[in-house]
């Protein structure tokens, strides 16, 4: 098993002026070469958990550890060399080119005024290739489609040469093909290049087919955690999402279908 890159131990966080913990005691570790999917209803604390992992928020209790050191002991520059993040939302004001955008991933590696070194150029080139965006290197990001823009953002995170990659809703607003492309890319990066990967998503079925482990969050807590087979069960999903579902196996991976109101459960062969 790979080295633990990211670790949360009993982590709690409460936003100022709110009377409820957004994250209420979560323990979790993510190893090198392992892809972990985090799912859960809206407001269950997924994005807050990511912010804690990256040290943008400071845990009110518990400990967040990044490569063996408390997250607060790294500065932002050092963290950016360890963790690449593809945030959920991003609205660039100015239309940089794709290449300029990916170069921003090198910020934490570069001197303030120094020109890019060979290592920087190489990292950008390989990130562009890896994410299959080489062909539009010179295009302005304002002209990209949703799927292309998402790949460019993954490329930017990759240019950071991180040991961990964190993606928040990477396939929101993407059509099926682009959705699949993003997941295949991320899975490949994690499993082939040995990066630790975390994906937060609403696509429970999809993520179940790509990840090694899943965490189901509810009300700031981990409701279930384990392999997709252990986690995606009718009880867990119905409890967490508050909606009747039916779970079935598809090529060894559990997949669920939410039932329409009044729809009866089909009778299973093995029931």
């Amino acid at each position: 098993m790979g080295e633990v890159i990211l670790e949360l131990a009993g982590v709690r966080y409460r936003y100022p002026g709110v009377d409820r913990d957004a994250v209420a005691g979560v323990t979790l570790h993510i190893r090198r070469g392992e892809l972990v999917g985090i799912v859960g209803p809206n407001g269950s604390g997924k994005t807050t958990l990511l912010r804690l992992l990256v040290g943008v928020l400071r845990a009110s209790a518990g400990c967040v550890t990044v490569v063996g050191k408390p997250v607060g002991e790294w500065n932002r520059r050092e963290l950016a060399r360890i963790i690449g993040v593809v945030p959920q939302r991003e609205e660039p004001v100015f239309p940089l080119t794709v290449e300029e955008t990916v170069f921003l991933g090198r910020y934490a590696h570069m001197g303030a005024l120094a020109a890019p070194r060979r290592a920087d150029r190489a990292a950008v080139k390989s990130a562009l290739e890896r994410c299959d965006v080489v062909e539009f290197t010179d295009r302005r990001i304002s002209t990209l489609s949703g799927g292309e823009w998402q790949r460019v953002r993954v490329a930017r995170a990759l240019a950071q040469e991180p040991q961990a990659l964190i993606l928040d809703e990477p396939t929101a607003n993407l059509d099926i093909r682009h959705e699949m492309e993003v997941f295949e890319l991320v899975s490949d990066l994690v499993h082939r290049d040995g990066i630790a990967g975390v994906v937060v998503t609403h696509h429970v079925n999809l993520v179940a087919r790509f990840v090694d482990r899943m965490v189901v969050m509810n009300d700031g807590r981990t409701e279930a955690s384990g392999t997709p087979g252990e986690v995606i069960t009718r009880e867990v999903l119905e409890r967490v999402f508050g909606w009747p579902v039916e779970v079935d196996m598809w090529r060894g991976v559990p997949q669920f279908v939410p039932l329409k109101s009044g729809e009866s459960r089909p009778i299973h062969r093995d029931d």
Partner: protein, 322 residues
């Protein structure tokens, strides 16, 4: 090639600035005068009046453009500039207060202007936060306009309460102009402006990151809170230095960065120095127009930049809305 064109434009503007003016001196005479040759009056006009004036106009124009470019990335709104965000207005109030209260010394006015600018940007930020938890760039701009209007009202009050002669001077100065230019003023301006300009260039990459948004900028390795604070202080210092020596000059900070972006792209590594050159060039040219268009009478240079800047601003709005 584009840089060469920019540099040549800059040189042309500076030469024109020295050669043209209410006193009809002529190009070759001006150059001779600059070198200390020829008629004594010409030498005095060129060396003591025009040269520092042209240099000051150039530096102020450059600083306003750099400040505008910085603020646009900082507040994530391509229509931001020191004038629209209320920084200039705040600096103006600070400076006029210092003058009205007879706080002595050439250094007092820029310092008071700096305090005024900081108070203004603080107010703008506070106002923008009233609307919601996060700062909406559009609301921020609106707050800037509101704070500017408030500053205008305070200035109106100061003017109406002070004696007529002072009022005339302060009004003219506030509309923007380089009548007070001298080598000494140039020295004072440079000592206020050099450090913030250097700092802004030093932060060219973080500025790129900031234009993506605060959270992405953090993820990519900037300490956003510290960076923003320093940028606001630098922008306030620069605006204050400009206002203290030349009054309120609008639209240079807005229009110039956009022009540069269209030609040279959006990375601040090229944007900032190019904006400095173009801003300097344009303000120097505007000052020539201000001095010569209705000679021997002078227009305030702020009037010239507004007359040119407002239509250009309207065009930018159209582009931006698309």
């Amino acid at each position: 090639m584009r840089w060469l064109a920019l540099a040549m434009l800059a040189v042309a503007a500076v030469v024109a600035g020295v050669a043209l003016g209410p006193a009809d001196i002529g190009w070759s005479e001006s150059v001779r005068g600059l070198l200390g040759m020829g008629d004594e009056t010409v030498v005095a006009i060129v060396r003591q009046l025009r040269a520092p004036r042209v240099l000051l106009a150039f530096l102020v124009g450059g600083c306003l453009a750099v400040t505008g470019a910085t603020l646009q990335a900082l507040v994530r709104n391509p229509l931001a500039d020191p004038y629209l965000l209320g920084l200039s207005g705040g600096a103006g109030v600070g400076a006029v207060l210092a003058i009205a209260l007879h706080v002595g010394g050439a250094w007092a006015v820029p310092t008071a202007a700096f305090v005024g600018a900081l108070v203004a940007i603080g107010l703008v930020y506070r106002l923008a936060l009233v609307v919601g938890a996060g700062v909406d760039p559009r609301v921020l701009l609106l707050a800037g306009v509101v704070v500017s209007a408030f500053g205008g009202a305070i200035l109106g009050a100061i003017f109406s309460l002070s004696s007529a002669a002072e009022l005339q001077n302060a009004m003219m100065w506030l509309l923007g102009g380089f009548d007070a230019a001298s080598w000494r003023v140039l020295g004072i301006f440079s000592s206020y402006a050099a450090l913030p300009v250097a700092y802004l260039y030093y932060t060219n990459r973080p500025l790129d990151l900031l234009s993506l948004g605060e959270e992405p900028a953090q993820f990519l390795g900037t300490d956003v809170h510290r960076l923003k604070l320093r940028l606001y202080v630098s922008a306030s210092l620069l605006t204050a230095a400009c206002v203290a020596v030349s009054g309120i000059i609008g639209f240079v900070g807005l229009v110039v960065p956009h022009a540069v972006r269209m030609v040279l792209g959006h990375t601040h590594r090229t944007l900032l120095p190019a904006a400095f050159l173009l801003g300097g060039t344009l303000l120097t040219a505007a000052d020539v127009v201000a001095r010569t268009a209705f000679a021997p009478r002078q227009l305030p240079v702020g009037v010239v930049t507004a007359l040119v800047g407002v239509p250009v601003f309207a065009l930018l709005l159209r582009r931006w809305a698309k």
